[in-house]
């Protein structure tokens, strides 16, 4: 599965809206729950959109806040204020 990118987040109430947002914005994403952690695999490209997270959270969200609960990720990153995209540069 070399084409998969992934994002692993702590499974807590702060990360819950982020996880929900990712699953909503990336139809191909699959969440695997491990103890204390949620690892989200997605073929090709995975995007975290600030707006969707804000809607789920009910407050303003700075994409950098994701690092508080981010455990690991796999893929090349392209980020700006509105989106964090993980994909493999070929």
């Amino acid at each position: 599965m070399a084409d998969n990118v992934f994002l692993a987040l702590q499974n807590n109430s702060e990360a819950q809206p982020i996880i929900e947002a990712i699953l909503e914005d990336n139809p191909g994403a699959v969440a695997n729950e491990s103890p204390g952690m949620v690892k989200i695999n997605c073929p090709g490209r995975l995007v975290v959109r600030r707006e969707t997270v804000e809607e789920k959270m009910g407050r303003k969200f700075d994409l950098q806040e994701i690092h508080i609960n981010l455990i690991s990720l796999g893929g090349n990153i392209d980020e700006d204020d509105d989106e964090l995209v993980i994909a493999w540069n070929t």
Partner: protein, 332 residues
């Protein structure tokens, strides 16, 4: 010897309380907000009717014309429960306190022209009584409303308004170099000056409005929705243009709060209007009934703020409010 580390994943039998699972489905993780506000409303076993209103039960859905299948649907998009709300307001209080200290310790208002200071005294300081009226009205909504989400959010709105009244008081005191007479003068304006009487009449009528959802529309949508953009939006910008940036600093919380609270106000009205055509008609009727009164009450304030040319500002503010109403699905 090698040791294999294995993890065992234990699936919890229940992800949340049963009454929450009934609303969102058994497999979804509930948010803290949902767990904090849903199912709080007592609905059964109300054995005794209140002596002050024996026609109704203690908690009664008929205290408003709005009918909801489940009042727990009137949720707050900010997802405030006691914890999140106090943390957020605590942060804002720290920042606001710094602003006041900064303005006061450096005497930033001393250089302001007296004509502008006088305008703030006439227009802003008496607004503490309007904010107190809003506090009382939201207290009524929290007390007589139905459903945990709307009542708890109304209680936050109530305390927010008390905070705003206190901040306005601080501004008035700083402007008057801490002479408390400034507050007595503002009260005298509120009680007897011509310019404040239509607004005082409106606030007092709101206080005796019995239907709590009508009061929500009147106080939180119409009164706040016009007074704040006019006074803390347009007038604030005008003062800033005339060397009053320090004054605007003292309104930081109020301006930020209005944008935030409007999201809750709109979401509640939008959800109630979506529920049924009858609800929508009631809400539109209340807006049509009160908007001329609100415009009338703003007129003298706007004239003082913009030197007799207040009509244009009111028109813009009302237009903007009607756009808000359109966005939440009302036809006006």
């Amino acid at each position: 010897m090698t040791i294999d580390l294995k993890t065992t994943s234990i699936e919890p039998l229940r992800k949340t309380f049963d009454h929450i699972a009934e609303k969102i489905g058994p497999d979804k993780a509930a948010t803290r907000y949902q767990e904090a506000v849903w199912g709080l409303q007592p609905i059964v076993n109300q054995h005794y009717r209140p002596t002050w209103d024996p026609a109704k039960t203690l908690y009664d859905t008929s205290r408003t014309a709005v009918v909801m299948e489940d009042f727990d649907d009137l949720i707050d998009p900010r997802q405030y429960y006691y914890g999140t709300w106090t943390i957020q307001r605590g942060k804002q209080q720290d920042s606001q306190e710094k602003n006041f200290n900064f303005v006061e310790s450096r005497g930033l208002l001393t250089g302001m022209e007296s004509a502008w200071k006088d305008k703030i005294r006439r227009l802003i300081v008496p607004l503490r009584h309007v904010a107190w009226g809003a506090n009382t009205n939201n207290s009524y909504i929290a007390a007589y409303g139905f459903g945990g989400p709307v009542c708890s959010a109304a209680a936050f709105q109530m305390m927010d308004h008390l905070g705003i009244a206190q901040y306005i008081t601080r501004t008035g005191l700083i402007l008057a170099e801490n002479d408390p007479k400034a507050l007595d003068d503002a009260k005298a304006l509120w009680m007897s000056d011509e310019m404040w009487q239509p607004m005082r009449a409106l606030v007092e009528e709101a206080m005796v409005t019995k239907d709590w959802f009508e009061l929500h529309v009147l106080q939180n949508f119409l009164i706040d929705g016009t007074v704040h953009p006019l006074v803390f939006g347009k007038f604030d910008a005008l003062v800033t243009q005339h060397g009053g940036a320090a004054y605007s600093m003292m309104n930081e919380f109020t301006i930020e709060w209005f944008a935030e609270a409007s999201r809750w106000v709109d979401a509640v009205i939008k959800r109630a209007a979506q529920e049924s055509e009858a609800n929508k008609t009631h809400i539109e009727g209340w807006i049509a009934k009160w908007i001329p009164r609100v415009q009338g009450a703003l007129k003298p304030l706007s004239d003082v703020a913009f030197d007799g040319e207040g009509d244009g500002a009111i028109e813009e503010v009302v237009d903007h409010l009607m756009t808000r109403a359109g966005k939440i699905g009302l036809d006006l």
